[in-house]
Symmetry: C2
């Protein structure tokens, strides 16, 4: 049965999933990149960037697992890029270069129509203007029985949590304080939403929290 | 050199250090007691309650360490008890029975004067109406070179953090979501306050976070 998952989503010790003021040079907002420092030395991350070496410990296992059995992704527009308002042209194709690491259909939530963009290696970006339900419907069709991953950002995950779609979350807690930014759990009642099975695993550079309905 | 410490202070995955609606039967607020479940099976906690047995792992080490070299404690009034407003009489003597686990002077922050209360085993409760600086001054004198522990609750810890008094925090993250209550770090900028040395250790039933200025 196809599952809807969040995986390798990083937050700070004080619960922020992104810093403030996202822009072209700081795609994750001020200091947001520090949230992800645990991921850079992993073998899997280096492989994606076509580099040798990297660590093979607990952190790496979580990165590897996060790509298993994925049939489709859903991204918020701000995770796809810094462009706001109507798309001025087709130039912006995501942060990830010519061959993004998805290799499956990716559905981008936006209020502004745009034609699909096919990238190298099997990634196609589809732009969905009908809201989160409509994106989920399209993703289910595209995933064809495989899992669907909600890539982020914070606001997209919160919307899907509140709408009851997400089966499982893997959140990586990075050992930094951000002090401000977008908070993942603030004002959410995870228990009332049915999330009760919780497991915590210490990695080399982050602490991993697995949260399931149950 | 005497240090000011927070230790074994439990928060939920979503960052709450106490539940809502504290009262006589739920001293830690609704579901607040679940925050502390990691502590009950430890050897040290059982020893305090004069019981045999208990676990001797990582969680227990943190509990043991939290009592080492303590010369004085500071507690917020709500941690001392559920009584609000002026003290009606001298009947309320804390949650901890005739022989509280402190065994040193304990300074309770309150707006209402009350005479000191001496308990069995070396604990004396002093009631401080002059604010957090005044309590710290008294605690320093009483500690006589040993450490001072800020016991809690959330609001007391936040006040001492913001005033720059706390050298070191050990926070235990319990694997539960509370969804509401008193948030420990919300709106605090821990980095700006100088907390940069962070260590995370997985225990048997909680995840331990050590935070120091550095």
């Amino acid at each position: 049965m196809s599952k809807v998952k969040v995986a390798c989503f990083s937050i700070s010790l004080d619960g922020f999933g992104a810093g403030i003021r996202q822009n072209l040079t700081e795609p994750l907002g001020v200091r947001g990149e520090e949230l992800h420092e645990w991921i850079f030395p992993t073998k899997m991350f280096r492989e994606i960037g076509r580099k040798d070496g990297g660590n093979e410990g607990v952190d790496n296992e979580f990165v590897e697992k996060s790509f298993e059995n994925m049939g489709a992704w859903i991204l918020g527009r701000n995770m796809f890029g810094p462009v706001r308002g109507p798309w001025p042209d087709d130039e912006w194709k995501g942060w990830w270069g010519e061959e993004p690491p998805y290799h499956v259909p990716v559905f981008v939530l936006t209020n502004h129509e745009r034609k699909s963009v096919t990238m190298k290696g099997g990634t196609t970006f589809h732009f969905i203007t009908g809201g989160i339900e409509s994106a989920m419907e399209e993703a289910r069709k595209a995933a064809n029985g495989k899992d669907i991953r909600i890539g982020g950002g914070v606001s997209t995950i919160r919307q899907y949590l509140q709408a009851g779609y997400i089966d499982e979350l893997h959140i990586a807690i990075s050992p930094i304080f951000l002090g401000s930014g977008e908070h993942l759990f603030s004002g959410m009642n995870m228990t009332a939403l049915g999330y009760n099975q919780i497991q915590i695993v210490a990695g080399e550079n982050a602490t991993h929290m697995i949260i399931k309905k149950g």
